[in-house]
Amino acid sequence: MPARATRRLLAWAPVLPALLFLAAVFFAALIDNGLRSLAPPSGAPWYDYYRQLATDPFYLQALAETVALAAATTLVCLLIGYPVAYYLVRHARSGRALILFLLISPLLTSIIMRTFGWRAIFARRGLMNATLQGLGLIERPLDVLNSAASALIGMVHVLVPFMVLSIAAVLEKIDPRVEEAAEVLGASTPQIFARITFPLSLDGVASGAILTFMLAMGSFVTLLFLGGGTLQTFPLLIYQQFNTTRDFGMAAAMSNLLMLLALALLFAQLRLIRRQGVL
């Protein structure tokens, strides 16, 4: 074997274990999933599962709800996460470690525990309603639990640290002297933020948005326990196909469609971001 080819092979050697692992536990399963989704019950055409998913208004609405929830979660995470990341990098000095700890500590707790915590807060006799009633702001308890709002809050709680950390990592790299130079040249604080800091941090916003959106698309536990069936998303329907109806072919078709949709949206986001000169 020529020396160049050997060198090329050796260069791949460090990633070989990871590739083998992926081949065994991911690609093989993906192929199996693909084959299952193309083998509907006898008599039906091979594409029948996909035909149902593409033509039945119920599944199309579920798909739309999946994307809409992921998009809303990403947007709220960005609105909450950016100021936190900015404060963390630019202003928090002694409290930085504490903020980082507070950000990361929810990730160390089981998602089930966090979700049940929200249930205790949102319940009719929970902390939120008791406080509002105690203050005389409401007469009857609000039905917050088992709604799209409680599901969204639960999702944001789970995913906002990913957004903050992605943005903070990029903000950290922006040279403060650039902002100082703008100030010296007479730019106001909002101008500096709008024309210098934010555009330079778009890298972090983009990676945070992609990460949050993808995680939200596949989210399941939070929706199951906080959505109460008000939202029908694809991960919930896939679970139902496995757990209740045991229609593995339909579950496979749904998961393939969800994956393709996620990849398409990821591709679209990357193109959009690259057009803006980010990443």
Partner: protein, 343 residues
Amino acid sequence: MITLTRRSLLAGMGAAATLPLGRAAFAQGRLTITSYGGTWEKAQREIYAPVFRQKTGWDVDVQLGSPSQWLSQIEANASAPPIHVSVMPVELALAGNAKGLFEKISVEKVPNLADVPKPFVDLVEGSGVCANYGAAVLGYHRERVKSPPKSFKELVERVAKGELRAALPGIGWAFTPTMLLWPLAEVFGGSVDNVTPGFEAVKRMKPNTVFWNSVTEFPQLLQTGEADIGMWYDGRIWDAYDAGAKWLAPLNPEEGAAMIPVAVVKVKNTPDIGWKYVDAMLDPDAQLKFAKLINYAVTNAKVVYPPELKERFTPWEKTKLPPFGKIAAVIPEWVNRWNREIR
């Protein structure tokens, strides 16, 4: 400072390697069984496994998870299944049976089967046996519901009016078709073939109902005021009561709650000694210990419950036995309908 020499390292590795062997040396083999989590796992490890071990010398590996997952594992590797004996709901036992995954049971293989009433064998079409059962009764908050409904019909009326808030199993819970939709359909004049009255009843209650999708959610929903009454398993209600939820009480509605048995099956192409484990699960002494621990009624007719335990169990004659096979066949259709009409 500790100095590691090659000799001491090898000696240490040798000693470590003999540790698992030492345990295995006493066991003649290992049987893999399945279990639900929590006290159910405790029952398998501390009640049934010791009986089996004493009789056979075999050790037991307990695999936790969900019944759907166990059935898939068996199905995926039917010639050399990773599970030898499995507990599972009747619906899944019948699904596995239809695919020829389980062996037929007999008194010759399982002597304690002679003391189990025939319906508990017939339910799983002879490919296993029901070892214990609960009933999907109503559970209510004693302090908030002074006069609980006596029947399903009264429950539906009062929840529909907003007099009570209900916590009912949602479609994320695999057994909702059997424990909720079928009984309500029957109560309002329907059947497996005509489930519309069941759906109509759920729709009427929906504005004042919260649906639970995990079996552990129910007591929290009552405790936090999300609901006053709902549907849960009688054994679990007593479990929660014993654990401190003294405000919780069970009620078997006049029409009779659906019986939800737990079947035990021996998987094909696994060692015959697995039958001994099934026999241990039907052993009257072991079953009595199980009933005391889990608060689920057991199926060996020789078991004599102490009075305080007996009054907790819903007698199986006062429950309604769901037509599991017929329901299993229409579950996909019912789930689809729920998704579109109830959500």
